[in-house]
């Protein structure tokens, strides 16, 4: 397994993007690419080559699950672990997101101090379970 360095964050709320950037760069020391939509993420992912993607679920245009489905059709994005970001915390809703092939689900509001470690945990899990 290599190392978690580059994280792509896809979130339509600018205030959440800002706190994600603070958390993952200032605290997590990751290289971060911020996208405001699923479409933007699909366009930027091949160039950025993320080690992990953090995807908001409820976005205008492509939703998080739709973005994940589109990513998985691309050869170079098939194995990138994806973690969903959602305010829906019911167990059945989380289970449904996991069925889409996510490595994990982060519930909003999240603690920006703990987020980098949580993502590292999900990245390690995601790298271990994704099929070849």
């Amino acid at each position: 397994m290599s190392e978690l360095r580059r994280v792509m964050c896809v979130e339509d709320d600018p205030d959440i993007r800002m706190i994600l950037e603070f958390s993952l760069t200032a605290l997590g020391a990751y290289e971060v690419c911020l996208c405001s939509s699923g479409q933007s993420a699909l366009a930027q992912a091949p160039g950025f080559k993320p080690d992990l993607m953090l995807l908001d679920v409820m976005m205008p245009g492509l939703t998080g699950p739709q973005t994940l489905a589109a990513l998985r059709t691309r050869q170079d994005m098939k194995k990138v672990p994806v973690v969903f970001l959602t305010a829906k915390a019911m167990p059945d809703e989380i289970a449904e997101l996991m069925r889409h092939g996510a490595a994990g689900v982060i519930i909003k509001p999240f603690d920006p101090v703990k987020l980098p470690q949580e993502l590292l945990m999900y990245w390690e899990r995601g790298c271990g379970v994704l099929p070849d």
């Binding site: 709320d13 205030d15 959440i16 800002m18 706190i19 603070f22 200032a26 605290l27 409820m58 305010a87 909003k108 509001p109 999240f110 603690d111 920006p112 101090v113």
Partner: protein
């Protein structure tokens, strides 16, 4: 949610977070106007959803809870109860704005 930002983090990092909190608080009035002026229930629900999701990330968990409660009522079309929840939300916004990040 109790953030541990004051524990073991550098002064520069704490100041960076403080600046983000101040910026967030400064934008709360605009958020409230978007919520209260929303013409369609879905638009109001979406704005409430965003506030519910973001406030706690900045350390304002009570504000996030008020927004989440209003979001549920907005989604179910509960008229009087929603109006009451919005009054509570506005009061919480005013409280956060008056206290600033010291609260």
């Amino acid at each position: 949610m109790a953030f541990s930002l004051t524990d073991g983090l550098s002064l520069a990092t704490r100041q960076q977070f403080l600046a983000l909190q101040l910026r967030y608080v400064a934008g709360l009035n605009a958020r409230w106007l978007e919520i209260s002026n929303a013409l369609a229930p879905q638009a109001m629900q979406r704005k409430l959803h965003q506030l519910a999701g973001s406030a706690g990330c900045y350390g304002f968990e009570r504000l996030g809870q008020c927004a989440a409660a209003a979001e549920i009522l907005a989604s179910s079309g509960a008229g009087v109860a929603l109006t009451e929840a919005l009054v509570v939300l506005k009061a919480e916004i005013d409280l956060v704005r008056s206290k600033g990040v010291a609260g």
